[in-house]
Amino acid sequence: MGDSQYSFSLTTFSPSGKLVQIEHALTAVGSGQTSLGIKASNGVVIATEKKLPSILVDEASVQKIQHLTPNIGTVYSGMGPDFRVLVRKSRKQAEQYLRLYKEPIPVTQLVRETATVMQEFTQSGGVRPFGVSLLVAGYDDKGPQLYQVDPSGSYFSWKASAMGKNVSNAKTFLEKRYTEDMELDDAIHTAILTLKEGFEGEISSKNIEIGKIGADKIFRVLTPAEIDDYLAEVE
């Protein structure tokens, strides 16, 4: 990968044993817009702030939450362009699995493969780590699942998680509000309330995005009208 002049890794150990480039990548994630995910008993919801640089930007042209397969969706905090690269690679991996095994890829497998790509960029020559953390939400035979993948390539399964600017407030809020037997609609309300906690300005269907997947195993991004309904219920 890359020119032979750069066939050495740019991510190298510091004297204290740290991989500093990965830490800087995490800092980049921490200054990104807040996003979060909640696993309910019958589905998963992921949500993010969608703050655009100007009112001149056509918000319909931007979608931060993306499908990886019909039953797996993802959102990020950090650098948008890096996210697009990972989405493309993951979609291809999912499609290759489907072609080979004639079965949709299990959520854990897709997460593992995406994480492997991210790890490779921390060790290969001439590249920097990805400046994004991903939240992957899916529903397969093992039920609803939520995974977080970090720039280092490490991933964990979460009951609820948050990333980005407001991560500590959001996680504290989620820890208080989360219950094991939560249903999907409750989870969506909780997600909205969590986003509201650290939101600068007025929350509306134009500056947040919500994606959900239920027992129907179809991942969907909510329309602004649906978000408005949920916002009204939360008031």
Binding site: Y6, L10, T12, A28, L56, V85, R128, G131
Partner: protein, 246 residues
């Protein structure tokens, strides 16, 4: 052999700084401004117009060869603001890509797909050390069969958004402030209003009245989706209309 990761090389190649920033990308944005021109794009109800300054630094230069407005296909235009050489390289690649798209898929490459391709290419330069980011902000315009007029802007960081109106270059921020006021109520500009908003925005932020030879104007219209650069006479008409209006 040179090494990165915190040894001061975060300013020379695109690796992260301790604050999680990419200095080379930020410097690429500065290079766009250093080119010394400002560009504006406005999307109307059924047309898109882009305007840029035409600075010819030497009287001996052939004026017709100085242009920042490039047709990528018959229906897609690209306005490149920044380093001229980087712009030419980007346009050549974009033209190739659009032609291959038409061949492979059997229909014209839409503006947003081209913008995404440009942005994804720019992202690669921000992640791989062997190539620097391009010092170009590209505005892509075209009429989409289903969605109507489209205006997209792609930057050295790999971001791309659809815009109702936007700007790039030296006076980018001032122009965006001006345009935000104009577009606040979501007006549906006609073709003439679109062109005149774009030109008057440029005149306002640069605080000068232009001659028709000092600016370049590119348009696409729903009733004539071929991308074209306006002739001097047409620009003259719009300039006159603007000054009579005020």
């Amino acid at each position: 052999m040179s090494r990165g990761s915190g040894a001061g090389y975060d300013r020379h190649i695109t690796i992260f700084s301790p604050e999680g920033r990419l200095f080379q990308v930020e410097y690429a944005f500065k290079a766009v401004k250093a080119a010394g021109i400002t560009s504006i794009g406005v999307r109307g109800k059924d047309s898109v117009c882009v305007v840029t300054q035409k600075k010819v630094p030497d009287k001996l230069l052939d004026q017709s060869s100085v242009s920042h407005l490039f047709p990528v296909t018959k229906y897609l235009g690209l306005l490149a603001t920044g380093i001229t050489a980087d712009s030419r390289s980007l346009v050549t690649q974009a033209r190739n890509e659009a032609a291959e798209f038409r061949f492979q898929y059997g229909y014209e490459m839409p503006a947003d797909i081209l913008a995404k391709w440009i942005a994804d290419k720019s992202q690669v330069y921000t992640q791989h050390a062997y190539m620097r980011p391009l010092g170009v902000v590209a505005m892509v315009l075209g009429i989409d069969e289903e969605r109507g007029p489209l205006l997209y802007k792609c930057d050295p960081a790999g971001h791309f958004y659809g815009h109702k109106a936007t700007s790039a270059g030296v006076k980018e921020q001032e122009a965006i402030n001006f345009l935000e006021k104009k577009m606040k109520e979501n007006p549906a500009f006609t073709y003439d209003e679109t062109v005149q908003t774009a030109i008057s925005a440029l005149q306002s932020v640069l605080q000068e009245d232009f001659k028709a030879t000092e600016i370049e104007v590119g348009v696409v219209r729903a009733d004539n989706p071929i991308f074209r650069s306006l002739e001097t006479e047409e620009i003259e008409e719009h300039l006159t209309a603007i000054s009579e209006r005020d």
